[in-house]
């Protein structure tokens, strides 16, 4: 308790520390927002709740890490992860997801949970259970007498995340396939009547989701660490963000992603690093309770 008060006092005494926490949070939150956007896409288009989201992120990270071990430039790992994870997403869709689309939601939740367990363990067997990361070897910038440190690697990571997000948004808005995806999300039957091959759209959407997650993972391995069993925390964060923002609400997803990044940094600063995971989960519960209280006013429930 004293420690918490002391930490709060520290924040009040040095306002510039707040700035550092927010910068860190926004950098991390940008990557959460990417994974969450993929989840919102899959959830909205084919009504599948993918609990293996975080494991796609980690798998993308391992692609980049393995490439770097073989002497590839680390920044090339991001497109490599994007392409390879696209392929993996397509395989997963053909083998598993296509069979759960028409079923009730608990089926997809549990089936992807099984998939998450499998993926985590396969990565554990292939790459070992140590935490891994890529050192880009760039410098760190210091501001405000060294109180704020911004590694250039992190800046590059955030820029790549923003670039990827912008690319995906443009694609969704202007390309023919993007239009088909949005049409299918609105009404899959009507889309089928209009001559859209929804099966193809589903496969494309899931592969795109997996590729976005993979690219996010490839960025994470440069600015952070990955480990085979870290996947579930990314899945939980993606669920928090999508539940808070709602489906098909892209500005909401980005805001919520940045917000949860900052909230986690604040939480771990105030309560101690041990609570970082707990805070993500508690935020999920708080968001659910808040959504619930909104619905209860109209005597509705959260379905």
């Amino acid at each position: 308790m004293d420690q918490i008060l002391f930490n709060l006092g520290l924040l009040a005494e040095y306002p510039v520390v707040n700035l550092k926490i927010i910068i860190d949070g926004v950098m991390i939150g940008a990557l959460f927002a990417l994974a969450a956007y993929g989840l919102a896409l899959v959830w909205g288009v084919m009504n599948v709740k993918n609990l293996a989201q975080g494991d796609f992120v980690i798998a993308g990270g391992y692609v980049a890490w393995w490439g770097a071990q073989q002497g590839m430039h680390p920044l090339l790992g991001v497109p490599a992860a994007f392409i390879l994870m696209w392929g993996l997403g397509w395989v997963v869709y053909k083998l598993l997801i296509t069979r759960v689309i028409e079923r009730d939601l608990f089926t997809s939740l549990l089936a992807t949970f099984g998939l998450a367990i499998m993926m985590a363990q396969i990565m554990n067997l292939m790459f070992g259970s140590d935490t891994q990361s890529i050192n880009l070897g760039y410098e760190t910038l210091y501001f405000a007498d060294g109180l704020i440190d911004v590694p250039i690697a992190k800046l590059i990571g955030v820029c790549m995340a923003a670039g990827l997000a912008a690319g995906v948004i443009t694609f969704m808005k202007y390309s023919r396939m993007g239009q088909a995806i949005r049409a299918t999300a609105q009404d899959s039957r009507a889309a089928r009547v209009m001559g859209i091959d929804t099966e193809k759209v589903y496969a494309f959407t899931f592969s795109l989701n997996s590729a976005i997650c993979g690219a996010a993972g490839a960025i994470i391995v440069m600015v952070w660490v990955i480990q085979p069993f870290y996947g579930i925390t990314y899945s939980v964060r993606a669920f928090v963000i999508v539940t808070a923002a709602g489906l098909g609400n892209l500005p909401g997803v980005i805001t919520a992603g940045l917000g949860i990044g900052a909230a986690e940094q604040y939480g771990s600063h105030i309560f101690g690093i041990g609570y970082q995971q707990a805070i993500a989960v508690i935020l999920l519960l708080l968001v659910l309770v808040w959504r619930l209280s909104q619905q209860r006013k109209n005597r509705q429930v959260l379905k």
Binding site: K49, L96, R99, V100, R103, D104, L105, F106, T107, L109, L110, A111, F113, G114, L115, A116, I117, M118, M119, A120, Q121, I122, N124, L125, I232, V236, F239, T243, G272, G274, Y275, Q277, A278, V281, I282, L284, L285, L288, V289, L292, Q295, R296, V301, L302, K303
Partner: protein
């Protein structure tokens, strides 16, 4: 009449099994644990249609309540955990058995109270949101406990060890599980025939209509979850005595182990049936132990694949399959003439 005979034979097997296969006593005890958690999951998941992924919360909470009650009766808990093996704390046999007798029901009752409080919030959620919300409760519970130094934090907590010899200890644990499991089975058998059983089935089939018919759905949901939590918590308390030392994230609040196994057991056996969870737990446990023996290292991959295959292809489970193939065994009359037309 033959049914009574069947139960008697099963009862005799239950009593004889630990003595006939002494090397498998711990395995059989774990099998009973699986049956208990699967059967209690089915009460809300199968019979009431609320698929919780967070029932493991009650298992972990039950373990910790058992530890705190047993230790707290003799020593201050904070001092005991703070010593971290440094001090010498002995428990006389009387203290041990008193702790056991008190802590198992205490864990059950505490978990039932937790279920009331958590359920009051989470039962507003439906379908997948309920599953995610309860999963969140379980993960958050584990994280909070692992940061709580009074009960040992991430290091976990040690129970007193059994005062007499170890073989006897295994038998005692087996029978504790078995008694709890049999009690749960017959309790469910009775409960599903009462008005209460009909009410929770109505909630599963159409909650809105059930409410319109004058069923206080919230009250029924809370009571059903509390009953389920009571048994899971009591099973957790027995596990605490069995494992002696346990830590929060991997043992007590083991979200991806037992927490998901109990759901798979029920799906494997057949959701919403009395015998489904029992049969499913036996099948799952045998599969799990075989993969553990022969695919060491790949056992998790095999289990994940089993979950995927069961969920996607055999969601009705064995009982559902039999119901479809042999409806007359379940007292369902099928008019074949009508079906042909």
């Amino acid at each position: 009449m033959s049914k009574t005979l069947f139960y008697i034979i099963l009862g005799i097997i239950t009593v004889i099994a630990p003595f006939a296969f002494p090397a498998f006593q711990t395995q059989l005890a774990t099998l009973w644990l699986m049956i208990i958690v699967a059967q209690s999951w089915d009460m809300t998941g199968g019979q009431m249609g609320y698929n919780s992924l967070g029932n493991i919360f009650f298992y972990g909470t039950g373990m910790y309540v058992a530890a705190v009650v047993t230790i707290g009766l003799v020593y201050p808990v904070g001092e005991y955990t703070g010593a971290a093996g440094g001090g010498i704390y002995t428990f006389t046999p009387d203290e041990y058995f008193l702790g056991m007798a008190l802590s198992i029901p205490a864990a059950g009752i505490f978990c039932a109270l937790c279920a009331f409080i958590i359920g009051y919030v989470t039962f507003g959620l439906r379908g997948p949101y309920f599953a995610i919300g309860t999963l969140g409760v379980a993960i958050a519970g584990g994280e909070m406990v692992s940061n709580w130094d009074w009960i040992g934090g991430g290091q976990g907590i040690s129970m007193p060890s059994y005062p007499y010899n170890f073989d006897q200890f295994k038998t005692v644990i087996y029978f504790l599980y078995a008694i709890l499991g049999i009690a749960l089975f017959f309790f469910c058998r009775w409960l599903y025939q009462t008005r209460f059983g009909a009410a929770i089935n109505a909630i599963r089939d159409d909650e809105g209509k059930a409410e319109a018919m004058g069923i206080h759905t919230m009250r029924y949901k809370l009571i059903a979850w509390a009953i389920s939590a009571f048994f899971v918590g009591a099973a957790g308390a027995i596990s605490a005595f069995q494992l002696i030392h346990f830590e929060p994230l991997e043992t007590a609040y083991q979200t991806i182990n037992l927490g998901i196994f109990m759901v798979v057991c029920v799906l494997l056996g057949g959701k919403g049936t009395l015998w489904g969870p029992v049969i499913g737990a036996v099948m799952f446990h045998v599969f799990k132990e075989l993969t553990w023996n022969y695919f060491l290292g790949w056992q998790w991959v095999a289990l994940g694949a089993l979950i995927v295959v069961v969920v996607v292809f055999f969601q009705d489970g064995l009982m559902g399959y039999l119901k479809y193939k042999r409806p007359e065994w379940f007292g369902i009359a099928v008019d074949t003439k009508e079906a042909k037309v």
